[in-house]
Amino acid sequence: QKEVEQDPGPLSVPEGAIVSLNCTYSNSAFQYFMWYRQYSRKGPELLMYTYSSGNKEDGRFTAQVDKSSKYISLFIRDSQPSDSATYLCAMSVSGGTSYGKLTFGQGTILTVHP
């Protein structure tokens, strides 16, 4: 079993839809949670960064972390064709010998069609 599980999709939605992307994980030591967006043939771009449980909102994006369920989500409201990309969840253990090492999900391919 992988430490981080993410549905690879692909996910196709119409413009304006609410998109929900999810990851589950098994390592209870993870404390930092991130979502990256990666366009084709480009490097990952940090979208959202959350410490421990709770919600964080940034414009059309909301990240949720539920440590009790070991489950994180990214919601995209009013999705746009420019949101079409691969979304990677990533998480890390705090300090110690982990040196901020990220454990990634497999990525979900999202297409928003006009």
Partner: protein, 113 residues
Amino acid sequence: DAMVIQNPRYQVTQFGKPVTLSCSQTLNHNVMYWYQQKSSQAPKLLFHYYDKDFNNEADTPDNFQSRRPNTSFCFLDIRSPGLGDAAMYLCATSRDQVTGEQYFGPGTRLTVT
């Protein structure tokens, strides 16, 4: 704008011919990472530097080496590229080793012929 820059963006090399990829950053971050990403896969950490301290992942092949001559620059050397080394190579930086908040460059796509 502060950023992570990678050169070249595309690199073609021959089987067995050494190649060097470069990364520079203007974020003044202490930590620099090198990742390998193959098609439809998540990035795989190869190694990282915290300042000048080098840390190799256990499963990184000996064929891959790295140098960090100063805070701003880091290089990835592939001594004898094989066909299986064709991939996107990503450089990332982080302010510290605690949070995992990493900022990636645009990547170098390596083709091995």
